[in-house]
């Protein structure tokens, strides 16, 4: 008897480290630290993104620090370069993050090109990726859904390529599934949809397309009930992954009965 496909180990491997969850989550835009913690626990995520900011910005002295609430011993931190509009700023941010996190070298590189769309500045992203890889960083790179750029980033040594589904924080879902499919087909490193997911079905579609994972923040944090949405996303990621591995039936134009045609008692 053949073992069902989904009994085989199906771990996500990024830069040599194995993760059982394929959902990566951001830690921004939550009401408070307690909601952050509860939503992230419900999501089952093992990799969490954080931002690096000046200590006098955005801190409530009465609140515990993120590092206390979500201990780096339990989660893999993925410091991001959000808000950077130049390669230099992104590189500085990553170096500060590495110092802050005791030599931790996994980073999410994003260099933005425009405040309205938050689309990546690709030439600047390439430049930053090159410097960071030379400097020993393991770079997970945010990029647009361009198959050629995705290939280029993988070839230069990025440990994961993270194409957007739609603009950051837009919740529009996967706007170009054909491009995501091309990127996945050519992938030499994990392809993780980053940005644009709005609800559980969007995450499932990303996984059904063959993506290695999905990174999201706003879809969970800005839901009416973030903890419940985090749980929904966890299931959507798992369902989409299993559907991808199971291999969907071919699409047909017309109906095809599910019950046998012969043996009916009402035929003459």
């Amino acid at each position: 008897m053949n073992a069902p496909v989904n009994n085989l180990s199906d771990a996500l491997v990024i830069a040599g480290k194995t993760y059982s969850s394929r959902l990566l989550v951001g830690t921004g835009k939550y009401k408070d630290m307690d909601e952050t913690r509860r939503a992230i626990e419900a999501s089952g995520a093992q990799i969490i993104t954080v931002a690096i900011r000046r200590t006098n910005i955005g801190q409530n002295p009465n609140e515990p620090s993120l590092l206390d609430v979500l201990p780096p011993s339990r989660y893999t931190y993925l410091p991001n370069t959000a808000g950077c509009y130049s390669a230099d700023d992104a590189v500085r941010t990553c170096r500060l993050a590495r110092e802050l996190l005791d030599g931790h070298d996994l980073v999410k590189l994003e260099v933005l090109g425009d405040e309205k769309t938050l689309y990546p500045d690709i030439p600047a992203t390439l430049k930053a990726a090159e410097i960071l890889i030379k400097d020993g960083f393991k770079v997970m790179v945010y990029t647009n859904d361009d198959p050629i750029m995705a290939k280029r980033f993988a070839e230069m040594g990025c440990v994961a390529v993270m194409p957007l589904a739609a603009p950051i924080g837009s919740g529009l879902g996967i706007r170009n599934p054909y491009n995501i499919r091309f990127i996945v087909e050519e992938a030499k490193v994990p392809i993780i949809v980053d940005a644009g997911v709005g609800t559980a079905s969007d995450a499932a579609i990303a996984m059904e397309l063959g993506c290695a994972g999905v990174l999201m923040n706003t879809a969970i944090a800005q839901a009416q009930d973030p903890v419940l949405m985090a749980s929904a996303m966890k299931k959507a990621i798992e369902a989409g992954r299993e559907a991808f591995r199971a291999g969907r039936m071919p699409r047909k134009q017309y109906g095809s009965p599910s019950s046998p045609l012969g043996g009916t008692f009402f035929q003459p």
Binding site: I52, R53, Y77
Partner: protein
């Protein structure tokens, strides 16, 4: 002497080390990273690293982000 800390000017009566500055800012022992004039000052050097006039210091930490 005057230095810039996180974009704000700060007057110092006497030269200080990075460790002393963090202490003054109430951040001694807190998990932060420090950059002086765009160069990282590793935690292991905070005690020795002397700040000079018009140095630009950044003190950062991790906050929620996506």
């Amino acid at each position: 002497m005057k230095i810039m800390v996180n974009g704000q000017e700060r007057a110092l009566a006497a030269p200080v080390t990075v460790a002393a500055l963090l202490d003054e800012l109430g951040m001694a022992g807190k998990r932060v990273a420090v950059e002086v004039n765009q160069e990282i000052v590793p935690r292991s050097r905070h005690m020795q690293f002397q700040l000079n006039d018009s140095d630009r210091v950044e003190v950062v930490f991790a906050i929620g982000g996506g």
